[in-house]
Symmetry: C2
Subunit: 363 residues, 2 copies
């Protein structure tokens, strides 16, 4: 891997994006506004991001040859999801700069590595946790977390997939078997609210954090984000500082999503970090319409080695995800002329599928 | 042509765009945010808009077969420039809805037809004018406009091309010969400022007008637009009303640029309409960063038969065009973190070429 400091991309350079879903699509749109070309790599034909990019490659994430060809056709590579296989990241990084880098990927794609980094590397609080590879680890793990707890696969979980709440030893055994081992057990946290810090850090080490949002979920899928989160100024400041500290400790380049729980213990507030996403994040979609520079554009600027744009919020905003049938009648949404509608160009509405989102300014 | 009232496009429908320059590119980006696919038709290979569209066709505007194939592949057709040949418009309109429609095109692509429509159809004031097809018309024309005057080709002029200021009969003859006849002579207007009304009108007849901007030119090319124009509220209201009236009279669907001169005669203000553009307009580029809904998105909504979005301005703004070398060092522009940079992805910087623009919010 090339360890020389990154040179800013030239205008008109090509940005490679791994992943062709809505995040890749919005990254490509942001890149286009800055005059960059994009080349999107994704295993699924007809991916939404393909249709707004200068080039695309349909390829598997374990096809080293296709990945190398892709990488050599672009000037820098980034991605829309944290589950880029380590081998794929290696093939790419051997050829072109990869941002966020291999360390950010390795740290965030494994829940145990992530929690170890957070609690020991970054010194921030997380829920009690213990790795469980198999039956033999169960007793120790429960000793750490107690029951009930949440069993999660170490890798490839999202939107509540690969996790199960377990109240008894039997439930834990059953879930562990179902997941096939390689899990982490987390203590159940009784939190008051879930917050997001969307941090962006440039190749020059300068970092910014957007105003903190409060997230609400339905069926384990993000349903809405309210910004600013209706909390005390000190809480918001603490959440911002926490996000910035994590990005700094990771030596991160790009947009980073930091999910946190706000816990109240006998009146005292604590912030526990739940999860990191080394990419633009659903809870940052409000920035497209209510911030001077969106999380997408700032991610592109960061990976291009360009200076970051102002993250100043321009209005109070509520981001509502359009999941499944909620996207079936966009004209009803647009009956409100201030509704800022975003649709992802997915061909088919399916239950639980993120089809788009709406930003409501001034709420 | 199909005269039935337009049905709103279904989500994910395909919008055809004639012209692959920066306006087509920004239209395609706006369409993508709403989940539409775009198919861009343009004679030049590697056009900027091709690189953000799902499909493109390299074809000539007089290739009826290619145009028909293009039109039949999309759900509605729009364009980025007024010089779509009438025959091309006919081929397309026979096959798919074309917005803005053939009447808008015919009216605006011929300076004489435009001025006749404006003064007799819409009842608004324009500079004194007279058609000059050849030598025989010169005397009558000068009788109308006086000298000095401006000779312009009836068609295909832009950015000062195809026009000449003429102070004497000899200069007029020389320019007429150079342009090959088919011209219009316009009286020279001594104006205080040039204003733009960016109007958008939906298929349902509902129309909105953005806040009025003041334009400044260099070498006949738009250099900057200041919004709101620093003028009296009554002047701005009159300019807005004028823009709306013209769109209404044209039965227009889409975004319409209306350029006006503000003239002061012994203290009394008058607005003279200089030119119409049946498309998104350079003087409306500020709307991308300082209005709830951009002129591009509203154009797409209008031609899709979707409701318009709010045109509310969110900040004072100055739009600065990046012409030629002004785009050579984008990082210098981005040293101001509030600068909203847009680059068009043109491969080569040339003198006089529009390479991008910057919106400065709060000026």
């Amino acid at each position: 891997m090339d360890d020389r400091p990154m040179q800013p991309l030239k205008p008109g350079a090509t940005i490679g994006i791994l992943g062709g879903g809505q995040l890749g699509r919005m990254l490509a749109l942001a890149a286009a506004r800055l005059g960059f070309d994009c080349h999107v790599y994704c295993p699924e034909p007809d991916s939404p991001a393909f249709r707004v990019a200068a080039r695309h490659t349909v390829g598997a994430y374990d096809d080293a040859e296709a990945l190398a060809t892709f990488a050599s056709s672009v000037d820098v590579v980034t991605y829309e999801f944290e589950n880029v296989p380590a081998a794929a990241a290696e093939v790419i990084a051997a050829c072109r700069p990869l941002y966020p880098d291999a360390r950010a990927l390795a740290t965030t794609q494994d829940r145990v590595a992530e929690k170890i980094f957070l609690s020991f590397g970054a010194g921030v609080e997380v829920a009690p946790f213990a790795a469980i590879d198999g039956e033999a680890d169960i007793e120790t793990a429960i000793g750490v977390t107690g029951l009930p707890a949440i069993l999660k696969t170490r890798r490839f979980g999202y939107d509540g997939k690969g996790q199960a709440k377990v109240g008894t030893l039997d439930e834990l055994r059953e879930a562990l078997e179902r997941f096939g081992g390689d899990c982490v057990l987390e203590g159940l946290i009784s939190f008051e609210s879930e917050l997001s810090a969307i941090v962006v850090r440039g190749a020059d080490g300068l970092a910014e954090v957007y105003d903190i949002g409060e997230n609400r979920h339905e069926n384990h899928i993000l349903s809405e984000t309210i910004v600013p989160a209706p909390l005390a100024a000190e809480t918001l400041a603490a959440a911002r500082a926490l996000g910035l500290a994590i990005a700094e400790k990771l030596g991160y380049v790009g947009t980073l999503g930091v999910e946190m729980f706000l816990v109240r213990d006998q009146g005292e507030e604590r912030l526990l970090v739940n999860e990191l996403a080394p990419r633009v994040h659903n809870s940052g979609h409000w920035t497209e319409d209510a911030a001077v520079t969106s999380q997408f554009e700032n991610h592109i600027r960061a990976v291009a080695g360009w200076p970051l744009g102002a993250v100043t919020r321009t209005a109070p905003v509520r981001m509502l995800n359009l999941i499944g049938d909620a996207a079936a009648d966009p004209l009803a949404i647009l009956a409100d002329p201030s509704a800022r509608l975003h649709l992802y160009g997915k061909r088919e509405i399916r239950a639980g599928r993120k089809m788009g989102h709406v930003n409501y300014l001034d709420r």
